[in-house]
């Protein structure tokens, strides 16, 4: 499987969602999503809480597989390969499509081993020390931890832990980087560093970032998708859907939907 994915030809669209519906148990969480994620660009997902941004993001590297009751309809393709085809191994999918999570979640290991974990499980053959250092540098964490690489990841502050998680993810060099509110635990300085990092990374990688910070979306992203949630017929039910997907400048200056206009200008609700 690994071979199959790594030898396939790159397409103009890295990830494509075609009429995707996502269920948790019998609840429809997200409906009718169509998306074409362009390569080597930053795509931002914005929208109110609970509209399914994380849910969609997790589908892109099959992290929802382990959630009981999760069900997907429609197609999600990665370079034209159906990610949910029977013969696709989710483990190899995740080796190509990495993820940074909303909450910092270091492993109960040393700082070094946290960063080295991904390369090790991916059979990295180069110089691990160098890789750990360069990953930590890119995540703007090296200077703060270079003297205590042997200490536990939990000994860092929340913001440092988050940058450790970012270092850990970029250490495996994924083609696509999914970031679920990566800066929500960071101070403005670290946030700017991460944004710089994202701009560097997009020369090689495709990045999708979920953010509640409009300025951030406007600053870093090339494309923006705005999601919203609407009430369903069922009591208390809510289903998320894609409102608009376009170039970021367009979304922020002249969106075609009124809801988008209201949301990006803070007049939502």
């Amino acid at each position: 499987m690994t071979q199959q994915i790594s030898t396939m030809t790159a397409t103009e669209t890295v990830i494509q969602a075609e009429n995707v519906n996502i269920y948790y148990g019998s609840n429809l969480a997200v409906r009718n999503v169509f998306l074409d994620i362009p390569p080597r660009q930053i795509t931002a997902f914005i929208g109110p809480s609970g509209c399914g941004k994380s849910t969609i993001l997790r589908c892109f590297n099959r992290l929802n597989d382990l959630i009981e009751g999760f069900r997907l309809q429609g197609r999600i393709t990665y370079h034209n390969h159906n990610l949910y085809a029977k013969d696709i191994d989710p483990v190899s999918v995740r080796r190509h499509i990495g993820m940074v999570f909303q909450k910092p979640n270091p492993f109960p290991k040393t700082i070094y081993d946290n960063v080295a974990y991904g390369p090790r499980v991916n059979n990295y053959e180069g110089n691990l020390d160098e890789l750990v250092e360069s990953s930590l540098r890119r995540a703007a964490l090296w200077d703060e931890v270079k003297d205590k690489l042997g200490e536990n990841g939990f000994s860092l502050s929340g913001g440092q832990q988050q940058r450790l998680s970012i270092a850990r993810t970029i250490a495996v060099d994924p083609e696509v980087l999914l970031m679920d509110e990566p800066c929500s635990a960071l101070d403005p300085i670290a946030t700017l560093k991460i944004e710089e990092l994202m701009k560097d990374l997009k020369e090689k990688y495709t990045i999708i970032i979920v953010t509640h910070n409009m300025q951030q979306a406007a600053r870093v992203s090339d494309m923006t998708a705005f999601f919203n949630a609407e009430a369903t017929a069922e009591q208390g039910g809510k289903v998320g859907y894609l409102v608009e997907f376009d170039e970021t400048t367009k979304i922020f200056t002249q969106p075609s939907q009124e809801a988008t206009q209201d949301y990006v200008s803070g007049r939502f609700g």
Binding site: L63, E68, G98, Y117, T169, V172
Partner: protein
């Protein structure tokens, strides 16, 4: 511009300010403070009485053991003769100390892999939730079976089976000291097996709880980096839950060392040191259960001495457990 009106609430009774809004008063009433005090004394009393209880048990055992301590000293721990015939009385608890330790450790060797394995299986979603719930319930039910029932089951089911297995072990591997005797039925092997089954629910339940209480993000992060499910379990989840698992194992060890009834019924109660696990043996608690009713004078003291040794042994295990868990936690948080 109008000056802002500053509202404040009195912190002391001497401050006389009319209460604001719908709050009658922000002061704590005397009864509320009084109830706090009563709760404090009550809980402190409970805590102290447990300490007193523990001390008094230790004291009574020690006082009653004194004649034997004076008569045998530390030799009690390293000699193997146990002779209550008056005139030729000699007491040494080595076989029972050995039996206690070996039966408990053998039980752990069997129960730890089985229990932790079951815990992993039950904390992952390999099978639908409904089946898992039933399995968890059944494992916990194992803990509810009275030990005398385990003993009976041992006599009628386990001993016939271990006799056959033991015979085969003796015939093929008899040159190893542990299998050097012909099994006669009761013995160390069936006792250790029953102990293993009895401590299984402790190990499984606590290990499963500590695995299940790990944040789901930990698993997702590992999987997101391209680790396999088993890689995630062994390299991230088990290390993260390690202190809980060690705690479970230590608790199980304590339980195995103190278990009495089931062991007495199937261990053979032979007060002799024998390396072979196929031979009958004895443990301290089983010795006490067997002999206490008919013991008198020095034998009572010797049994009390043995009890004291058992208490100290379990105490050491517990302290060791605390220490190990503390070390591991220091490493991880």
């Amino acid at each position: 511009m109008a000056l802002a009106v500053i509202k404040y609430y009195p912190l002391f009774r001497s401050m006389t300010v009319t209460p604001q809004g719908q709050y009658a008063s922000r002061l704590r009433s005397r009864t509320e403070k009084g109830i706090d005090g009563v709760f404090f004394s009550l809980t402190a009393g409970f805590a102290i009485s447990i300490g007193v209880l523990l001390l008094s048990i230790g004291l009574v055992v020690t006082i009653n053991a004194l004649p034997a301590i004076q008569a045998f000293g530390l030799k009690f721990l390293i000699t193997s003769e146990w002779n209550p015939v008056s005139g030729r009385e000699a007491y040494g608890a080595l076989p029972m100390i050995y039996g206690t330790l070996v039966s408990a450790i053998l039980a752990l060797l069997i129960a730890v892999p089985l229990g932790v394995g079951t815990a992993i299986f039950l904390s992952e979603n390999f099978i639908p939730l409904a089946f898992r719930t039933v399995l968890v319930f059944m494992v916990e039910l194992l803990a509810a079976i009275p030990s005398v029932v385990y003993g009976l089951w041992g006599i009628f089911v386990l001993i016939p089976i271990t006799k056959e297995i033991g015979r085969w072990l003796h015939n093929t591997l008899g040159w190893i000291p542990f299998f050097s005797t012909m099994p006669r039925g009761p013995g160390m092997l069936p006792a250790a097996l029953v102990l293993a089954i009895m401590i299984l629910p402790i190990i499984t339940a606590i290990s499963r709880d500590s695995l299940a209480s790990l944040p789901p993000e930990l698993r997702q992060a590992s999987l997101g980096l391209g680790a396999t499910r088993w890689g995630t379990i062994f390299r991230v989840l088990i290390p993260a839950a390690f202190s809980g698992i060690v705690g479970a194992v230590m608790l199980a060890l304590g339980r195995a060392m103190g278990e009495t009834m089931a062991v007495t019924m199937i261990i053979g109660n032979a007060n002799q040191l024998n390396l072979s696990i196929l031979a009958p043996a004895n443990t301290i608690s089983s010795l006490l259960a067997n002999q206490f009713a008919e013991a008198k004078d020095l034998q009572v003291a010797a049994l009390m001495y043995a009890a004291l040794v058992l208490v100290i042994m379990t105490l050491i295990v517990n302290i060791l457990a605390e220490y190990i868990v503390g070390q591991i936690q220091a490493k991880y948080d």
